[in-house]
Amino acid sequence: MENKHRLLSILNVITVVLFLVSTWLVFAYAPLERTMGPVQKVFYFHVSTAWVGMLGFFVSAIMGVMYLLKGKRIWDTVGVSSIEISFVFFLIAIISGSIWARPIWNTWWTWDPRLTTAAVVELIYGAYFLLRQGVDEPQKRARFSAVYAIIGFFSVPLTFISIRFLRTIHPVVIGGGDPSVVGGFNMTGPMKFTFFFSLFTFSVLFADLLWHRSRLGRLASELEDLRLALTS
């Protein structure tokens, strides 16, 4: 237990340092993009937050499979923790993308395939919490949540590939795409470094938050058990 706390403290420090370095890279190291100006810098953390969203939804689907196979409560705890973090980060990605779109596309929102599928993903995972609220029995709730997390995850790759296979105005950062899209750009070396460093930082941040949120989940489970013991 003591070792776990020490490891978590080390991870906290690493996360804070990485986050500060990433912020410095974005504002001081990465050059200004010629046509979009400063607003292009939103892209570094916008993509990173979307990445955390997708990563967390993937982790929750894996946790769902693990729960259905093993039936241990910890898989449910990590699964719900993962979805909660990803839900917040995916929302950040949608809002920050909308702020970027206003000066570049001249609109806050358009029903483009990427934006639409991203909104659908967010709604699907929003409904996940409603589902959990609606089931009182812990084991039943965990089983339903596991199945929902696995099925819900199918919407995530759809969002990822939507800008690669459908007609869209959303830029493709990795793997080419239509060069005529509004707001597309080629990354220079420092931009690429800042971008991948931000992705790495947010992955570590996700791991750190997941650890903390899972501890909270374990405490919530303990409280639930104590309540049951008191009432029975």
Binding site: M36, G37, V39, I92, S96, I99, W100, R102, A220, L226
Partner: protein, 51 residues
């Protein structure tokens, strides 16, 4: 092409205010929930011990 740098600077600042405030807000919510749950668990344990 003359680009309105001041305008996009405002959007960049707005974007990062959203990003940082959401992340900070989520971390604060974790801390607050942890403290509330911790206190509740302690209370319930005491109640159980007292019978």
């Amino acid at each position: 092409m003359v680009f309105q740098m001041v305008d996009t600077l405002t959007y960049m600042i707005a974007g990062y205010i959203v990003i940082f405030s959401f992340i900070l807000g989520y971390i604060v919510s974790l801390v607050v929930r942890f403290r509330i749950l911790h206190n509740k668990v302690a209370t319930y344990r005491t109640l159980l011990e007292e019978g």
